[in-house]
Symmetry: C2
Amino acid sequence: AGDVEAGKSKSAKCVSCHGVNGKVSIPTYPNLAGQNEVYLDVSMHAYKKGERTGGLATVMSAYVNNLSDQDIADLAAYYASLGEKE
Amino acid sequence: AGDVEAGKSKSAKCVSCHGVNGKVSIPTYPNLAGQNEVYLDVSMHAYKKGERTGGLATVMSAYVNNLSDQDIADLAAYYASLGEKE
C-alpha cells in the first residue's frame, strides 16, 4: 500500500503542474487533491504503459516512466489524503 | 461554452459510476466534482477519440461516443460547478 509521507516527499516534481496541495490554478490540468487513491494509481500506470495519448499525455508519461510501483502507490496515497482535510 | 443546467440534465447516465454530485464511493472511479472544466472537456474528447485505452476506457468511450461537443461542454461545466459549493 502507498505511504502518504513518502508520497509527499516524492511529489516535488508534480507541483509545477498539479499545484501545491494538488489544487491547480491552470484549468487544463486536473486537480489531484482528494481524488480516489486507486484511480490515481491506475491512471499513473496507464500513462506509464502508454495507454493514454494525445494532449499532455506525453508529458505525464515522461514523468511517470521513472517511477516504481511503490513510488506510484505512495503518490496516489498522498494526493488522495489531501482531500480528507477539506 | 458549457451550460451548467444543461449539463446537469445530461448527467443521468454518468451517475451510476461517478455518483450523485460527482463524488464516488467506488475507489476505482474518479471524482468529478470540482474538477477543472477544461480538463473534463479535454478528457471526454480523449476518450471519444480513442486516446485513452486500458482499464475502464472502453466503458467511458461507449458513453461519450454519442455525445456532441456541446454535450461534453455542458457536462464539463456542470461537474466543474459542483466544486464551487464545497
